[in-house]
């Protein structure tokens, strides 16, 4: 009922614009039309349609859109700013205020791609070099993990062979592998990429294998009745059926990789968003740390969103159910 009340003024506004005659007729059924629209947003209520054909049908829908899609997130962000402000006041200024941080952010983002030597580069360069490490480690993990996942899913023997290994190694924090990487690759950058590789590979192997194991028996029966070749089975049945699972693996892997890279860069140094956080901590520049936290969050959000969009595009109705 809250949205019905919310509807009414907006419902009346376009009707008023529509002219004198429709206004007179709309005054009566307006509340009814508003409640009606709550349940059926795709069609215009018959009363409004007959009375004012020129009236924009989207107006009530926009109102509920505003109510549910825009207002709550804004309130959430507002709450965050409020708590932050309170913390700022409570800690006596050791945590900078939202306003100061925003001003600092404006300054930082006015020139994100400057470079004054290896230890002083713009935030843009730091994010890009972190993303580059993630892309490399993650790319290699995909190249290895997806075929391995296919094999494990297709052959029970391999599944039984590798399951104990995966169960043993998967819970290990990827950072525990960093010293091994440093030892073997003798460099900070390859060691960080190696860490990303290790943490990305498990979700991809496991999800691909599960996807292959869950290909509906019906599809395999179709393949058998049609007597399809192994190549056709892989390209026309297995791959499309496994793709949504695989993309879930990719999404989990990228999420973890983005979590891990910050920690890995804090340990290895160089250029990168994680290193930047640590560097600003050493400079006691808390504003920049908070900005970095937001940057890390936003980049992670964008990665996640892009991969969800990608996964939806390749998921077909039957698979979703």
């Amino acid at each position: 009922m809250v949205s019905a009340v919310f509807h009414n003024p907006l419902e009346a506004a376009p009707a008023a614009r529509g002219g004198d005659k429709p206004k007179a007729r709309d005054a009566g059924p307006a509340p009814l039309a508003a409640t009606h629209n709550m349940t059926n947003t795709s069609t215009t209520p018959p009363a409004a349609q007959a009375a004012a054909p020129a009236m924009p049908a989207r107006a009530p829908w926009d109102a509920s859109f505003l109510w549910l899609a825009v207002l709550p997130p804004l309130l959430g962000l507002g709450l965050l700013a409020l708590v932050w402000e309170l913390v700022f006041m409570g800690t006596g200024g050791s945590i900078p205020s939202p306003k100061d941080t925003l001003l600092q952010a404006a300054q930082i983002f006015s020139d994100p791609f400057y470079s004054k030597g290896p230890n002083d580069q713009g935030v843009g360069w730091n994010v890009l070099s972190s993303l580059k490490r993630v892309a490399m480690g993650f790319g290699m993990a995909a190249v290895v993990g997806i075929p391995v996942g296919f094999m494990i899913g297709r052959f029970n023997f391999l599944s039984r062979m590798f399951n104990p290994l995966i169960s043993l190694l998967r819970p290990v924090s990827p950072l525990a592998w960093l010293p091994i990487g440093l030892l073997v690759f003798k460099g900070a950058n390859p060691a960080a990429i190696w860490t990303i590789f290790i943490c990305s590979i498990w979700p991809m192997i496991i999800n691909t294998a599960v996807g292959v194991q869950r290909v509906p028996q019906d599809y395999m029966n179709v393949a058998r009745v049609l007597n399809l070749s192994e190549w056709k089975i892989v390209t026309k049945i297995l791959f499309p059926a496994v793709l949504p699972y695989m993309l879930t693996g990719v999404r989990l892997a990228v999420g973890t990789a983005w979590l891990v890279i910050v920690a890995a860069e804090m340990l290895t140094g160089g250029v990168g968003i994680g290193f930047w956080v640590w560097d600003e901590w050493n400079n006691l520049n808390v504003k920049n740390i908070i900005i970095a936290i937001f940057v890390i969050g936003i980049v992670g959000l964008v990665l996640e969103f892009a991969l969800i969009k990608l996964a939806t595009a390749f998921t077909f109705e039957e698979v979703k159910n």
């Binding site: 599809y219 179709v222 009745v225 007597n227 399809l228 109705e317």
Partner: protein, 269 residues
């Protein structure tokens, strides 16, 4: 009424046992059945009586524990396009369009002897036969359940199979759609002269469509209880048959078998 004398599918002493955790489970035993070329046979029985198991055996998707199955005097060693199956849940590949789903089957069977244009023409013809030319470029998710089932039938027929195996093809559809598809199937089978084995649990469907109704006893260890010859002239019309005294007699016979005689077994079990 055509008489069916030639043996086309021969099932001899077939027994099917599944290994389960509780030990072996005998689903079918002592199945003997022959199907003539061009004959329409319905397998009917209560659920769990092994109708689908028998159909899978004819399809070659499973192999019998004992006994033998022959199709055109050759042992059925595995599934193949000459015995096309229409699955209960249509089993279309959701990432392919209707055209591509049918084309996959056409390509497999005819690509050795025909060029691409001919394969496309065959696919179009199969879709036209089930009245779905307009939906050819749609994905299965975008069409209704009845249309999906029609694509499944088009896919099976497009391979020009020697035998058409239907596993409760209309079971998941509403009554009106089912009736419409049954009529279409009657017409298609009259045109193509296919040999058909259909699993069903619908008495009217069995009497309306088939030349013979094979009634199965309740499982476990199900077998053929009775075989009913349906001697209604073709073409058959649903409306005309509704009051036909012979039709009602056949219907009564099947119902009598299923609910009076086989009904008791289920209660005892």
């Amino acid at each position: 009424m055509t008489s069916f004398t030639t043996k086309y599918i021969e099932i001899q002493g077939v027994e099917q046992t599944f290994k389960t955790r509780k030990g072996p489970f005998r689903a079918l035993q002592n199945i003997n059945l022959t199907v003539a070329k061009g004959e329409f046979v319905a397998l009917i029985g209560h659920s769990g009586c092994g109708k689908s198991t028998l159909l899978n055996l004819i399809a070659g998707l499973t192999t019998p524990t004992e006994g033998s199955l022959l199709c055109a005097n050759r042992e059925i060693a595995g599934p193949g396009p000459e015995r096309a199956v229409v699955f209960q849940n249509h089993s279309l590949l959701p990432w392919l369009t209707c055209f591509e789903n049918v084309y996959l089957a056409v390509e497999r069977v005819f690509s050795a002897t025909e060029n691409k244009a001919q394969l496309k023409a065959r696919t179009d013809a199969a879709l036209a036969m089930v009245g779905l030319s307009a939906a050819a470029q749609k994905r299965p998710g975008e069409i209704s359940g009845g249309m999906k089932q029609r694509v499944g039938i088009a896919r099976a027929l497009s391979m020009e199979p020697k035998v058409l195996l239907l596993d409760e093809p209309f079971g998941a559809l509403d009554a009106l759609t089912r009736a419409k598809l049954q009529d279409e199937l009657l017409q298609i089978v009259a045109t193509t002269q296919s040999t058909v084995v259909m699993v069903t649990h619908d008495v009217d469907e069995a009497v309306l469509l088939s030349d013979r109704i094979v009634m199965m006893t309740n499982g476990p260890s199900a077998t053929i209880g009775e075989v009913l010859q349906v001697e209604l002239p073709r073409p058959r019309s649903r409306v005309a048959l509704a009051e036909d005294i012979r039709y009602l007699g056949y219907r009564k016979a099947v119902i009598d078998f299923l609910y009076t005689r086989q009904g008791h077994v289920e209660k005892a079990a």
